[in-house]
């Protein structure tokens, strides 16, 4: 027989010494473990697509969660390249299946408005390749004001840090001028920050720069993210009409 054919044939029906001898039962068990993993991951509440972890903020351009998890290899390229140290390996934010996948933590860093490096380096395109103009339109989450911690809201102190840093062309943080009392009982006109959910892209620079430490007075959660039409707040008239 032609030796080349024989070599190829040996792959199909390997001779004894070329066999790996893994044992049918053990291989079957390993395969079942794989299926079992699918089943167990599948009963995580987040897999229901009704429950969303507010801390599960994915980098801009990340695919819808199911597809994202199917592609992400937890390599950490995005975490390394992120110039603001915003991307971190997840613990259980995305369920056990999501361990070490990238999530943004805005207490450490924010998503830079002019940057798309994570989408440039993702080897599996779990973060799809987007250019900067497209990136600027992608919402990764939505900021909300914690009125109990915010200086103007809670203490009648003037503070405009979040509005100053907000990078969108028309600021997603706007001020409502309101009459408020200070501790001496004097009436003051104070600028109270509000978030415009249509303009906010969830970049989180407001949270990073907020002078209230420990837990910022303005924080980002994943609600409103572009990649997930389910994880929304029902603000658009269409949504109400449908509901």
């Amino acid at each position: 027989m032609n030796p080349l054919y024989k070599w190829i044939g040996d792959f199909v029906h390997p001779p004894k010494e070329a066999r790996l001898d893994l044992g049918r039962r053990a291989v079957l068990a390993a395969g079942l473990a794989g299926v079992g993993a699918k089943l167990l991951f599948g009963i995580d509440p987040q897999a229901s697509k009704r429950s969303f972890n507010p801390a599960l903020i994915r980098p801009p351009g990340a695919l819808p969660e199911e597809e994202f998890l199917a592609r992400c290899i937890r390599c950490g390229e995005c975490m390394k390249v992120c110039p603001t140290n915003a991307i971190h390996p997840a613990s259980l934010e995305g369920g056990v299946e999501g361990i070490w996948t990238p999530i943004l933590n805005m207490s450490v860093g924010y998503c830079d408005y002019e940057c798309n490096l994570c989408s440039q380096v993702c080897p599996t395109h779990a973060i799809r390749q987007i250019d900067v103009p497209e990136k600027k339109k992608i919402k990764i989450g939505l900021a909300y004001i914690d009125k109990n911690r915010c200086l103007p809201w809670a203490y009648s102190k003037t503070c405009i840090v979040c509005e100053e840093h907000c990078p969108t062309p028309k600021k997603a943080i706007w001020f409502e001028e309101a009459e408020a009392l200070n501790i001496q009982g004097e009436k003051l006109t104070i600028k109270q920050p509000r978030v415009d959910p249509d303009l906010c892209i969830g970049c989180g620079i407001c949270e990073t720069k907020c002078p209230v430490k420990g837990q910022a007075a303005v924080r980002v959660t994943s609600v409103g993210e572009t990649r997930n039409p389910e994880n929304q707040i029902l603000l658009s008239p269409d949504s109400f009409a449908e509901g």
């Binding site: 053990a26 199917a70 290899i73 390996p89 080897p123």
Partner: protein, 325 residues
């Protein structure tokens, strides 16, 4: 026992190749940063593109294929012919384990005992099967143990930040203390070094990652295990190694031993990295062999060689010893 032979040139070539790829990996790691304006370093995903396990798993799980990952076909093609050559010569994580394995002490006899093949080395194949079946039903978690993902993730989130912080602290301490005799000061030496590191190695700002402790401890564990078994990760854990072992189970490049020259000194077993039983070509395991050439290099009788051949006949199908019943 014969006197130890000089290390053969092919082992030096392997070490050179390994060092080259390892440095390339480190270079690409350091290049994975912001470059003006808004550019990541070029080709930083090179090693991930070489990785057929990642390509296969992502394709199975998501039915999508990234074009650059066609490069992994080269890895597969080479493996068909040369077995797990990739593990022994290219893989930077393998090189790391190779390095730490070479640091361990112990007597030759002990190395032979701990280095022998065991059934536990099948564990990596079961892991591979588990990952692949999971991918088939849509779960892609191979990145937990894929060697490049494991290595890169560990460097990113724990090892590199720790080294970074340590170096900055060290040089800052020297700068502040500024020890020396009269006008001769240590900072005259350390400051230029620090400047060099600042420019080419250190980060602009100290990075911090949540959960880096677990990643770092797992990485250090993987490294330390080399002191108990040669290339522990590559032998027992690595699913990429398992995939290459399956693909390269019947390679063209094979170990060959001249039985007439062999005086059964078993020196070939001392530095065998994969437990591939080189002393007995009939039981030599191409799926466990990293093609490191240590056995060939160590053999005082020059009985071992690696040859490229299409085997015409199976010479050993018959039992070697006939037993009357």
């Amino acid at each position: 026992m014969a006197k130890k032979k000089k290390t053969s040139w092919i082992v030096w070539l392997r070490r050179l190749t390994q060092t080259g790829f390892f440095l390339l990996f480190c270079y690409l790691f350091l290049q994975t940063v912001y470059h003006p304006i808004n550019k990541a370093g070029r080709g930083v995903t090179f090693f991930f593109n070489l990785d057929p396990l990642v390509a296969l798993n992502c394709w199975l799980a998501s039915h999508a294929f990234v074009g650059a990952m066609l490069l992994s076909l080269v890895t597969l093609a080479v493996t068909f012919i040369c077995g797990r050559w990739f593990c022994g010569w290219v893989c930077p994580f393998g090189t790391l384990h190779n390095f730490f394995t070479s640091l361990r002490g112990g007597r030759a006899k002990q190395k032979i005992e701990t280095g022998a093949y065991t059934q536990w080395q099948k564990a990596k194949y079961y892991l591979l099967v588990g990952f692949l079946v999971a991918a088939l039903v849509g779960v892609n978690v191979v990145g937990w143990l894929d060697p490049f993902s494991f290595f890169f993730r560990s460097l990113t989130t724990s090892i590199y930040p720790a080294i970074n912080k340590g170096l900055v602290a060290l040089f800052t301490w020297i700068y502040n203390a500024n020890p020396g005799v009269g006008p001769v000061r240590l900072t005259a030496v350390t400051e230029p070094i620090y400047g060099f590191l600042r420019k080419y190695f250190l980060t602009a700002e100290q990075p911090y990652y949540w959960g880096s402790m677990l990643v770092g401890v797992l990485f250090i564990t993987a490294v330390v295990l080399n002191f108990f078994r040669a290339r522990f990760w590559c032998r027992y854990v690595c699913p990429l190694g398992a995939l290459l072992g399956v693909v390269g189970k019947n390679p063209l490049v094979r170990l060959k031993k001249n039985e007439e020259k062999c005086d059964s000194c078993r020196l070939c077993l001392v530095n065998c990295q994969g437990g591939a039983t080189p002393e007995n070509p009939l039981e030599w395991k191409p799926s466990e062999c990293f093609y490191c050439w240590n056995c060939q290099s160590d053999c005082p009788a020059q009985a071992i060689s690696f040859t490229c051949e299409l085997r015409l006949e199976k010479k050993h199908d018959e039992p070697v010893v006939q037993v009357d019943r």
